[in-house]
């Protein structure tokens, strides 16, 4: 299955992981929890504040399915 991953702000530094293709595309064998994907991309979980699946608030245990858009944010508080 194919999904799209967007890593925002300071998490952008993990977007160069070889599993992530141009345009944030990832090819995965089967549905999996967000947390498993985060771990496979070596993103420290404590750096993550907000997770969205298809623009809607989700969690580490939410399941990613074919065609999903995953957005992951660190805390953002600057002004």
């Amino acid at each position: 299955m194919r999904i799209e991953v967007k890593l925002f702000a300071s998490l952008g530094r993990f977007a160069s992981h070889p599993l992530i293709l141009p345009g944030g595309i990832m090819e995965l064998p089967s549905p999996l929890p967000v947390g498993d994907l985060v771990d496979s991309l070596n993103i420290p979980r404590q750096e993550i504040k907000l997770i969205f699946l298809n623009g809607v608030h989700a969690h580490m245990d939410s399941e990613i399915r074919d065609g999903d858009r995953l957005g992951i944010f660190p805390p953002i508080g600057g002004g």
Binding site: S10, F73, I76, G77, G78
Partner: protein, 284 residues
Amino acid sequence: MPDLFEDIETQSQTVKNPMGADVKTISDRSMVDIAEKNKLTVRVVSVHCLKLGIVPLRYLRNSPSISLDEQIILAESQVAVVGCGGLGGHVIVLLARLGIGKLLVFDPDTFDETNLNRQALCRSDTLGAFKAEEAARQCAMINPAMEVRSHVLAITYPSQNHYFSNTDVIVDALDNAQDRLFLASLARDLKIPMVHGAVAGFEGRVMTIAPGSTSIETLYHVEKTTTPQASAEILLGTPALAPALIATFQTMSVLKILLKRSPMADNSFLHFDLGKESFNTFTL
């Protein structure tokens, strides 16, 4: 009052607007003179002018995107901006140019050289000045019809609720999670809508928080047992562009709330990435 109306009519001048139609207008200088003579504030004089259909020249080019009736609403509105730094500085300047009548500004800090990269009110000649006081000084120069009350303090105690009486909108222009959560709780208690903005690197977000909403908790709440997370702006810095962009969207949200132009879209925020030239809406 008859003297006041006579003064306004006498001092008004008919000009052609950009569409070629005649419009009765009045200059800042005339409004200031009339205010002094009648012992009124310039804001009050500006409201009388607008209600007589006489447009202060400073608002002529707001029209027709902002109508005469809407300009009156703005002149009678009160907005509180909490934080006069990267976001707040731009928001304050934009509110002054739009013609917001009453502004409350809060910030306990003074300008230092690390603020020069992004903060609209920070210049080499304002270094060392209290940010809130400098906001009032610069607003007076941009728009004498705006009444500004500056408070050199942080909003950190429930006992400070009284500062916000008669406030129509609160702007969250703070720079850390703890202060933002506190301000949101205060806005919630007072049932005042709040416009949240935050930046990191070349990215930022804006969110309108309807009266009573707890949506900001999702953005910032941290369990006391967990170790504090490093916020993205610490890792990425805050160059000038994202604060200017997000402040502009925050100010537009204020305008829409005051003029009741669209229902408040609570529970969702708009995230901008200037580097990728993209923006997305996310629902909490």
